[in-house]
C-alpha cells in the first residue's frame, strides 16, 4: 500500500499503473485515522489536495463542496473536526481523497476504528460513492465479510513476509445492498475466503 502510494521504495520489483505518467502517480489515500487538520474547517480540509497543487481558491472550493455533497455532509461544510463524530470524520477523509477525482484510491482499514453500525453504513455509502466515481479502489481490511461485501476481487495475503497467497473473484453484481449479507451466495464466498485466510495465517510467523 505504501509502495503504491509512493511512500516507500520497493526493494525489488516494480509497480506499474495503467495511465500513470512516469514517476508521478495520481493516487489518493484514506488511512484508518481520518487525519483531518483540526484547525481547518471541513471545506478547507477537503480542499487540501487541490490547495497543495496550487489550484485557484474558487475552483478548489467548488470541487470540495461537490465532494462534501457526495459523501452526504453538505450541512457540515463549515464545521470543525472536533464537532464531528468518528463516522463523519471518516466521510470527510473520503471526500478529501476524492476531491481530485483520482484514478486510484487507496484505503487502509478505513472503517476499522468505527462501531459496527457506522461501519456498515459507510460500506454502503462507499459502494454508492464508487458507483458515481468509478475509480479503482485498493482496500485493505481484516474483515472477510467487509472484503466480500465490497470487492470485485480479493487478494489474500500471508503475514510477514507479506505475499499474495490467493486471489478470489467475487462475481456478485452491483449495486449490492444490505440484504446480500444474509444470502447463501454471500456466505459461501465468505467461507471460501476465510478458509484460504486461515490456511495462510497458519504458515507464517506470528503477529
Amino acid at each position: 500500500m505504501r509502495m503504491i502510494a509512493g511512500l516507500t521504495r520497493p526493494s525489488e520489483g516494480e509497480i506499474r499503473m495503467v495511465g500513470a505518467e512516469g514517476d508521478r502517480q495520481d493516487v489518493s489515500i484514506v488511512f484508518q485515522d481520518a487525519t483531518l487538520l483540526p484547525w481547518r474547517t471541513v471545506l478547507a480540509n477537503v480542499a487540501l489536495p487541490l490547495e497543495l497543487r496550487h489550484v485557484s481558491r474558487r475552483e478548489r472550493e467548488a470541487a470540495a463542496r461537490a465532494a462534501i455533497e457526495l459523501v452526504g455532509l453538505g450541512p457540515q461544510v463549515k464545521a470543525l473536526p472536533r464537532q464531528l463524530s468518528g463516522g463523519m470524520r471518516m466521510r470527510v477523509s473520503i471526500a478529501r481523497a476524492l476531491v481530485s477525482h483520482p484514478p486510484l484510491l487507496l484505503m487502509d482499514e478505513p472503517f476499522g476504528a468505527l462501531d459496527e453500525i457506522t461501519r456498515q453504513q459507510l460500506q454502503n455509502e462507499l459502494l454508492r460513492i464508487w458507483s458515481q466515481e468509478r475509480c479503482t479502489i485498493v482496500f485493505v481490511t481484516h474483515s472477510v465479510m467487509e472484503a466480500v461485501f465490497l470487492s470485485t476481487r480479493i487478494a489474500v495475503m500471508t503475514p510477514s513476509p507479506g505475499r499474495v497467497a490467493d486471489v478470489f473473484d467475487v462475481p456478485i453484481a452491483y449495486p449490492r445492498s444490505d440484504d446480500l449479507r444474509t444470502t447463501p451466495e454471500f456466505s459461501a464466498q465468505v467461507a471460501a475466503v476465510s478458509r484460504s485466510l486461515h490456511r495462510n495465517m497458519a504458515g507464517g510467523t506470528p503477529c
Binding site: L7, F31, D33, T35, L37, L52, R53, R82, L84, M88
Partner: protein, 277 residues
C-alpha cells in the same frame, strides 16, 4: 449521528453570579482578612515601618513618589514587552529555520536546551560587561530569558505532527515548504502558546534582574532600579510598592499571553477550550 456543539452558552446575569459565587467568595474573604491583618497587626506588634510597612504606608509612598514611580513602571513594562516580543519572534523564526535544515538543528538544539536552563542571574553581569550599563543590556537580558525556551518548545512542536499526517502530505506530492507551513507550523502553535505564557512572566523577571545589574546608564530607572536604591536606603515601603507593581506586571503579561493563546487556539484546540469553562 452529529454531536452537539462542544461549547456551552455561558449563563448570563443572575445565573452567572450564582454559578461563580461559590468559587469566588472564599479567596476574596481570605484576601480581605489578610489585608486587614497586614494593616492593623504590625503597629501593636511593634514592627517598625522599615521592616514591615502597612498597606496604607505603601500606598502613601507610591503616591509620594508619583511621577517617578509611574515612569519606572512604564519603563519596565516597555522594556520587558519589547524584549519579550523580539525573543518570541526570533525564537519562532529560529526554530523554523532549524527545523527546515536537519544538520543545523542537530548542531544547535543541545545548546538551546542548555542555555535555556542557565539562571539569568548568572548571565546578567556578563551581559553588562559586554553591552555596557543601560537599556540595551536590559533588553538583551530579557531577550535571552525568552529566546531559548521559545526555540526549544517550538522545535518540539514542529516535530509533533503525526507521521500519518506527514504521509498524507507526501502522497499529495507536497513540497517541504508546504509541509512546514500548512502542517508543522499550525501543529506547533499549542506548544508556542504554552511557551509564550511561561516566557511572558519570565520576561518581566529578566527585565528586573537586568535593572538590578545594569543600572540606568544615566536615564530614569525601572522598577528593579527602584528596588535596589530604595532597599539600600531602607525605604522598605517603596521597595514593597515596586515589588507589588512588578508582580502585577507579571500577572498582566501572563493574562495577555493567555488571551492571545485563546484567540489563536480557541476554536480548535482542547487546551484553549477548557479555559472557557
Amino acid at each position: 449521528m452529529p454531536t452537539t456543539q462542544a461549547r456551552r452558552r455561558r449563563p448570563r446575569g443572575a445565573a452567572w453570579i450564582r454559578a461563580w459565587w461559590p468559587s469566588v467568595w472564599p479567596p476574596t474573604l481570605a484576601f480581605v482578612v489578610a489585608i486587614l491583618a497586614w494593616q492593623f497587626l504590625p503597629g501593636p506588634m511593634g514592627l517598625p515601618v522599615y521592616i514591615l510597612p502597612t498597606p496604607s504606608a505603601i500606598w502613601a509612598t507610591a503616591v509620594d513618589h508619583g511621577p517617578e514611580f509611574v515612569s519606572a513602571i512604564v519603563l519596565t513594562s516597555v522594556t520587558s514587552f519589547a524584549g519579550f516580543a523580539i525573543s518570541a519572534v526570533l525564537g519562532v523564526l529560529g526554530a523554523l529555520v532549524m527545523a527546515g535544515w536537519k544538520p543545523l538543528e542537530r548542531t544547535l538544539y543541545p545548546y538551546a536546551i542548555i542555555l535555556s536552563t542557565v539562571p539569568i542571574i548568572a548571565i546578567a553581569p556578563l551581559v553588562v560587561i559586554w553591552f555596557g550599563t543601560g537599556t540595551l543590556s536590559i533588553l538583551v537580558i530579557t531577550f535571552i530569558v525568552g529566546f531559548f525556551p521559545i526555540v526549544a518548545n517550538t522545535l518540539v512542536g514542529l516535530q509533533s505532527a503525526s507521521s500519518t499526517s506527514v504521509d498524507l502530505f507526501r502522497v499529495y506530492h507536497a513540497s517541504k515548504l508546504q509541509v512546514m507551513l500548512k502542517l508543522r507550523f499550525p501543529t506547533s502553535l499549542p506548544f508556542i502558546m504554552a511557551a509564550l505564557k511561561v516566557t511572558a512572566t519570565l520576561a518581566v523577571i529578566g527585565t528586573i534582574v537586568g535593572e538590578y545589574v545594569a543600572g540606568t546608564g544615566g536615564g530614569n530607572g525601572g522598577l528593579g532600579y527602584i528596588v535596589i536604591v530604595a532597599s539600600n536606603r531602607l525605604e522598605t515601603a517603596y521597595v514593597f510598592a515596586a515589588a507589588i507593581a512588578a508582580a502585577l506586571l507579571g500577572i498582566l503579561f501572563f493574562a495577555l499571553a493567555s488571551l492571545l493563546s485563546m484567540r489563536v487556539l480557541g476554536s480548535w484546540h482542547e487546551s484553549a477550550m477548557k479555559a472557557e469553562q
